[in-house]
Symmetry: D2
Subunit: 346 residues, 4 copies
């Protein structure tokens, strides 16, 4: 049973169907097609305002492109210490931005606190030519520890950012899980809270390879179009990327899939919390469960064939279990039972 | 009827089936999956030697990544004056390479001649620190004018390149069409002729979004792996990219599709050559037909609803018709008939 | 006798004196000193309007920084086929700009013609995301062939550039020689003609290592300040760079030195024109003489110990003689006599 | 009285004399001159082995160029939290390296400890394509807090670096002060300890604008030559940069100047340590004194016209006093007296 990531699973049937449906006849290439056109309308409806949408194929590209449009090369982008953009991209953001710097901040449960950002910016050397210039903030929703920023937290960060002249980006690789968990409107968590650009993830939620850069500031659109092209992310048969995102956003598929995954994670979190000696590492607010396991349990689960990642957050005893649209209740139950079985004193 | 490009068409049914087949169970992400592993074996068989394969999602990325591994930032990459890498990538190769320069060469029918390359290199300022350093050559197969380099021509270019210390890249967005036209072995046209890196196209041949960087020099593999990652081209659900290429290369699908497209282009070329006042612009050696049309024919075809690009090769009267795996004989016949009908004196 | 370049000679005594004068007491570093402050005022007076001045230490840096402020990374910068920026900078402009492309144009006597630029831009794919975007023009004054653009020619180029949305940069490594030759006002040849940014050379004119980026559009100043810093061109003891330029511009030193050099070149040009078999290659409009020499004369001069560069403009028989503030009339006379002596039939 | 920095002071008379001496006749440009040739010999003698020397004009450029030769763009360079390269260069190292990442480490008194580096590297994800790859370490000698690494400490860091496959760079903007303080041989502190590349500072020690990149690994020389050129740091009249460094290294001028500055700092450190309420912030091991001042003393000294920087190391009460070759014993005495006068209870 595979709890490694929501990207080890396949593709939602609705999205496979959308790909088949898009595979009829010919249409203009490079995003000039009908599906791509419709996607922008659909996203605008979802976000309750006109947005510009740039589909790309990986979250790496979505984040790096988005950040490159929000910072000059001499800029500094604040992020959480665990942020994927800093830790897991082989310097992709530095590459796309022409050399901007990421500056990690600490923060409980994977979240940046507005006050900490404010403190970091309070004495920042704005306008002094020697120093990297604070230019943007990127937050991950849900975070690398599976927690969700509340809209008020995001608004707080955005207020600090705006006050100091910084732009705000949201890495929404698991945006759906956050919306599903919080039950809020997408607008509330993004532009109404002050987000300038969103990387809206679909791949982890059940698409094949599709992410959307959503611009709430359309002055960035021309620049981003050229940036995307020269980065090799303007697909010739773009309709097949757009079709994935379009299907994902249709009839609440994205939310239904996320609710399923979240429900499994919630069950898993509750179940594991009962296991003696096992300690939750972060609140379960999406589709990921972080816990500290004794070595006996960890090794036992691995021996049973359960697959998951250990060594999370830089600590060898912290493991991550990720649920997806495909995780079954019985899979979760089996994992909990096994953990119980391996727990000391059982 | 759409003759704009082989990227306005959809996806081969065999490739759709491969995507469906890959959509079973879970597998490791980021290229650690079974399909990706199998692809390298399959490609090695095809090329009759061990090769390393890096799937990416666009030809833009394949070419820019490949070139960035073959040139230092102070290098100069020779290409044909019409090369996609120079003309159609919004400076993607410059971006990926950290600022290398492309140097366009003239050449009949879209091809670089070895002698012209040699002449350009004869007095090149090798080792002089002021000057961009000749570092690589990139050729397009089939070329931007639809012609195919013969293996001997490639070997000639490679000999010149090697003698001067340059590496050789082949942009094979339509590699299949060249192999189908020439009836040669893939090895003959690539590493046996002296090609170091190949961008092996699948998208235009019938995939959804899949290209493979094929390394014949495996010392580049580690560097390329990091370059691909930081460029946002390492897909989490890589198996779906690999599956497209794998299916494309299975049971000669790539060749069968290319032969079909080439056959249509050949019919079209022969038919148009009979149209009074219409003049072929380049030999038809793949799936593209370039011709000079009188304005009457050009406007007439457009009015009939035929779709194609005019203004090719910088000349307003040069049009391009592209055939694909999906082009039907009757589509071609209708286009020829219409051209005849609009020709002066008919 | 050394006619290789105006950079093989030393430093004007007035500039050495200025360095000594600056070497008193302490002053703020990184351009916050009194000399730097005064330089901006002096340059503003010279150009008859407020300008911003950024001293740097090489022409390579001045040009690359200036261009990087005038083009996005996906831009295309037009230049003459012989432009130093394209040919002699080991891809410096590509590096500083993050990957913009230089596009060489032909043009008689080292000059771009406005009409040729207009023709190149007439069908340029503005706004089409696939293609490098024309963004700037750079002209060299005096040119790489020693000729000078007239103010009306510059205005013509600027008009074309502005009409198409491009910015105009002047590489003025030998700006002084052009002003001295044309007898015009610096303003006339720059911002009044439509130049946005000037690289104002002092090194070749007699400074030690000092060039000034002069901005006629002060909206670029903030960006340029950060670009200069991160490029390692913000000097800690900046007053010594500023002092060189300040002295150069004081009491017409720059013009007097240039007039001297130009006078020597004019004498040399006239004298060589009389030598049988020797053919002028470009009009002498500054401090450089280009001529085609028979092999006998070329080898004879070398054997006599005269130093100069052959193989200019890509032709082995074209040589360049450069005069400087230090070239003496008798040096020129000796060169002419020697050339006569080696000429066939003498 | 100016204690702001050793770059607010002017130029040593011996170096002014060397500039005058170099200003005779003509010589080849771009480093092909006799002075530049001699410099490499002199440095080789100084370092007791063959070294390659690349003069540049700023420490920013020296460090950024050196690091760019030691790390790939996907690399991670470890440095101290206060390192100039990370904090004071407006992302210059990121620019020159094409996007490598700097990773700050904590460490007492401005120094990285080998054990802390080892701990950071122990679990580093070497070879894993997602993660920035540890590639180099840069240490500052003397450090940003005025302390000096002992040769054994450097060797310890180098051992850790080498064991993990990292290269070692030394930012020696104040290298002379370290050698003077420790009384060791330059070789001992550099290549014998395991340093691969040294930025050898001369400007702060008394030159006008001159730093030398010293390569102990000559395989980097070709690459560095092109990197320097395209970065606009290859000076046409290079002999004037080389002459500064050459004079600096002649007859122990560099050491004599550093000993003078160090002696003043030692006096100042001892004197201030006696001032009630004033607390040393770091040991004085070169020409800089860091101390925590009460607000009364800080304001008092400012009111007296003493110039220095407060807010060092991110703390408002930490001030820095820098001595130079030009600082006089009576200047130091006056500062100490003034501090006493302003101290509470006096």
């Amino acid at each position: 049973l595979d709890f490694r990531s929501d990207n080890t699973v396949g593709v939602l049937p609705e999205i496979m169907a959308a790909l088949a449906a898009a595979n009829v006849g010919t249409d203009a290439s490079y995003g000039e097609d009908a599906v791509s056109a419709g996607l922008e309308a659909r996203a605008s409806e979802l976000f309750e305002r006109k947005v510009r949408v740039f589909p790309v194929a990986t979250g790496s590209a979505a984040n790096a492109l988005a950040l490159s449009a929000l910072t000059p090369p001499w800029g500094m982008v604040y992020c959480h210490r665990l942020a994927h953009a800093d830790v897991d991209e082989a310097n992709g953001p530095e590459f796309f931005s022409g050399g901007a710097k990421l500056r990690p901040l600490d923060g409980a449960d994977g979240r940046i606190a507005a006050a900490d950002l404010d403190a970091a910016l309070a004495h920042a050397p704005f306008g002094v030519v020697h120093h990297p210039q604070p230019s943007a903030v990127t937050i991950t929703q849900i975070t690398e520890l599976g927690t969700a920023y509340r809209p008020a937290e995001i608004a707080g960060i955005a207020e600090v950012a705006r006050r100091h002249g910084l732009r705000l980006h949201m890495d929404g690789a698991r945006f759906a899980n956050a919306v599903a968990f919080l039950g809020c409107r997408p607008a509330e968590m993004t532009w109404r809270a002050g987000v300038d650009v969103l990387s809206l993830g679909a791949t982890k939620g059940g698409a094949m390879a599709a992410e959307a850069i959503v611009l709430f500031d359309d002055r960035l659109a021309t620049e981003l179009a050229f940036r995307r092209k020269r980065a090799g992310q303007l697909f010739s048969k773009m309709r097949f990327v757009a079709a994935q995102i379009d299907a994902f956003l249709t009839d609440d598929l994205w939310l239904r899939a996320a609710r399923h995954a979240n429900a499994r994670a919630a069950e898993l979190g509750r179940g594991l919390a009962q296991v003696p000696g096992l300690e939750p590492f972060a609140p379960v607010e999406g589709n990921m469960v972080f816990a500290r396991l004794s070595e006996a349990v960890l090794k036992g689960l691995e021996a049973d064939g359960f697959r998951f990642f250990a060594g999370e957050a830089g600590r060898p005893d912290v493991v991550r279990f990720v649920c997806s649209f495909a995780t079954k209740p019985q899979d979760v139950a089996r994992l909990i039972q096994a953990a119980r079985r391996h727990a000391p004193g059982q």
